[in-house]
Amino acid sequence: MTDSFLKVEGLTRHFDVSKPWLNRVIEREEKSFLTATDAVSFEIRKGETFALVGESGSGKSTIAKMIVGLLAPSGGTIEIAGHRIGPDHPEAIRAVRQRMQMIFQDPFASLNPRWRVGDIIAEPMRTFGLLSGSDVTKEVARLLEVVGLSASDQGKFPHEFSGGQRQRIAIARALSSKPEFIVCDEPTSALDVSVQAQILNLMRDLQDEFGLTYLLISHDLSVVRHMANRIGVLYLGRLVEVADSKRLFTEPQHPYTRMLLDAVPDLALSGRRRKPVTGEIPNPINPPSGCAFHPRCPIAVDRCKVEIPAQRATPTGTAACHLVDDVEKVSAG
């Protein structure tokens, strides 16, 4: 694919969740690891919005943190704008840091309560040495207006703003280093729906204006559908399906995607009957063998219990399911 901005291959992250050494010796236990992300590969094209959806514990935020460099991967590669990122390539990190930013979920936690809004927004410009002196103040004022606040808000503290306004401040801060790529980790989950609409519209406008590329992390399927061009569905640290946004909803390929779609409450009152969802996401420390979804899967066969399915091409993208070609038949019959 041409114009890919971000390329992630075989991205894996383990967390050591072992008990302390002495307990392990006494209780004769092995070290235990939690696999938060297991060989995840995807690409984000320039100017598009790629979304990752999944339930809690599916590894969404771990992927986001590894991409921006807040966590080191245990395996796999990340390539941003042609630069390979990793501990072996410190110069590459410096080259791309300025080009990417992140927006976090909780605008109450992500802004320093002791800093004035002007300083919060100016920090990236100062750190990267983009502007200095009175130019900084001018640029901060401009950014505040871009995100729908007033230039006179510079001198205020974060506590003087509502949740939605704080998220606007966080967006202004993200824009201040003039990034091309923004990782948005659940940007509207902490907000009320009417405020969520304002923030989502703002993010769209900014994307059009500055040609931004987004990685959107969310558990809310309707938000993802509204915002994204392509969607990746995660289950227990593995990518189970990647598809074009609209078609994921009309032609879901992987049985997990189908289940997830069935679980979304229907606001249109169409009288659609939901299929009851069964089971819960298993313990990631001890995930099921083979396809991690097989214990909950309505169409699982013996092969699913032993062999981890690889990504295969589907009419809408790719899906990691042994039965993906048969899914249509099974659900029809």
Binding site: V193, A197, V264, D266
Partner: protein, 328 residues
């Protein structure tokens, strides 16, 4: 129409603060019929949870009910002494809160918490209570209930814990269950399971439900009627399909349009300008007037009462009056 199970009339709740008195609920009235599910929606700070807390007499001091009344099956309960209220709470009104980890005691096994609750309200021996508890856990869908009952809350996943909380709320066979954001802390796939359990089990026992949530999707799937709160006031109340599809209050229709759906294709979401006013800055007249595109002079000065737009459907908006006059 049958006599309502719960009747709330002109409820006013105020919180005195150093900077003046904040009116968190301002003249809220509604009824819940026996066995009915009433959804209560609104943004943070609209007064949803305060309404629930006021009904069960759990408003944190210095907050207090200033005026209005709450009746349960015809009997006034808002002015009962704490001891009498405690007997109603749990027995006649069950509660399910948002976070299942904080509503269960981490130091006690599930069995102990259930048995204690059951024996506090029902005349049962330890053994009977335990059997009843196992039956409840089984009913809310906990696998191997007889074995799991001796586990501690941290042994259960979030969804399973919320099932335990539902079992706890229903332990004494209440007439009304107040569920305050019961699924907000859960994932979608688990959310739908919990909603199904809550709905089924209440229907089966004839318990009415007051479902407090900010999630319109959950309301649409679950509730019979829905009440929309805005800045401590009732903006609109009516049957779910009427309120969702034929909203008459500009706030309700704006709210509905601002939610992205799985079927519509729009480039931009409808957005209501501004935010809900803080409680110390509610404008005179209609509380929504500054954000409303249809606001006219009367909205700035006079506060609209709930006006009937259809049988059982009412909206607090002067536009309703205008239209009825034009029609007549």
């Amino acid at each position: 129409m049958t006599e309502p199970l719960l009747s709330v009339r002109d409820l006013v709740v105020e919180f005195p603060t150093r900077r003046g008195v904040l009116r968190a609920l301002d003249g809220v009235s509604f009824d819940i019929a026996p066995g009915e599910v009433l959804g209560m929606v609104g943004e943070s700070g609209a007064g949803k949870s305060i309404t629930g807390a006021a009904i069960i007499g759990l408003i944190e001091p210095p907050g207090r009910i200033v005026s209005g009344e709450v009746r349960l099956a015809g009997e006034r309960i808002d002015n009962l002494p704490p001891e009498a209220m405690r007997r109603i709470r749990g027995k006649r009104i069950g509660m399910v809160f948002q976070d299942p980890l904080t509503s269960l005691n981490p130091l006690y096994t599930v069995a102990r918490q259930l048995v204690e609750t059951i024996r506090a309200h029902l005349d049962m021996s330890e053994k009977e209570a335990r059997a009843h508890a196992v039956g409840l856990l089984d009913r809310v869908g906990i696998p191997a209930a007889a074995r799991r009952i001796d586990d501690y809350p941290h042994h259960f996943s979030g969804g399973m814990r919320q099932r335990v909380v539902i079992a706890l709320a229903l332990a004494a066979e209440p007439e009304l269950v107040i569920a305050d954001e019961p699924t907000t802390a859960l994932d979608v796939s688990v959310q739908s399971q919990i909603i199904d359990v809550l709905k089924e089990i209440c229907a089966e026992r004839g318990a009415a439900v007051m479902l407090i949530t900010h999630d319109m999707g959950v309301i649409a799937e679950t509730a019979d009627r829905v009440a929309v709160l805005y800045a401590g006031r009732m903006a609109e109340i009516g049957p779910v399909s009427d309120v969702i599809l034929k909203a008459r209050h500009p706030y309700t229709s704006g709210l509905m349009a601002s939610i992205p759906t799985l079927v519509q294709n729009t480039d931009r979401l409808v957005q209501i300008p501004g935010t809900m006013p803080r409680l110390n800055a509610i404008p005179s007249g209609c509380a929504f007037n500054l954000r409303c595109e249809h606001a006219f002079d009367k909205c700035m000065t006079d506060r609209p009462p709930l006006l009937d737009v259809a049988p059982r459907h009412a909206a607090a908006c002067w536009l309703v009056e205008e239209e009825t006059q034009n029609d007549g």
